[in-house]
Amino acid sequence: MLPIVSQVTLATLGLALLIVMVRLIKGPTLPDRIVAMDLLGMLVVGLIVVLAGWSGVRATLDAAIVIALVGFLGTVAYATYVERGDTR
């Protein structure tokens, strides 16, 4: 049962990634794209976590930690860039 459930979970997360990519391409202003990038990093972390639980490889969780940290730092950096510049 678990392989089917994990495949359904991964497919749902992939669909969410596609929907967020639509907003990332369409987004009228720069903060829209930043929000989409933040959510994209979050979804990638969730995907890696599900993959680690499915395959049983513990070392994959370290990659999830690193991606969460880098995504947060990137979001804060983009926000400070927006706060002083224009928002195209």
Partner: protein, 116 residues
């Protein structure tokens, strides 16, 4: 038993992640989009982490999953606040149906307070 619990929690987590994505696509404003994305994605990721920790059942895996969860719970509100603040002060237009904007310059008071 652990497979059933893992399946339920994983399906719930992916559903919340999909809800976050749909909210980011369909909300009318930067601020409402950020609202949808931060809350729903935090809940979804917490559910996925619980499912993985149950499935692996290892001490090291549980500690790693708990550390990811704690980090996400700490950083997501901060990143949402920073994005909202930056986009507000950069002049991103609000949605036309917004009813309250508390950060705008306040209107002059009707009866000024007498100076003591």
């Amino acid at each position: 038993m652990t497979d059933i619990v893992t399946a339920v929690v994983w399906l719930a987590g992916s559903g919340f992640a999909l809800l976050a994505a749909v909210g980011v696509l369909r909300m009318p404003d930067v601020f409402t989009r950020m609202q949808a994305s931060t809350k729903a994605s935090t809940l979804g990721l917490a559910c996925l982490l619980i499912g993985t920790a149950i499935q692996l059942g290892d001490f090291a895996a549980c500690i790693r999953a708990a550390s990811i969860g704690a980090f996400v719970l700490l950083t997501t509100p901060v990143s949402g606040l920073v994005i909202a603040r930056a986009s507000y002060f950069a002049g991103v237009p609000l949605w036309k149906g917004t009813v309250l904007d508390e950060r705008r310059a306040p209107a002059p008071a009707v009866s000024p307070r007498p100076s003591a």
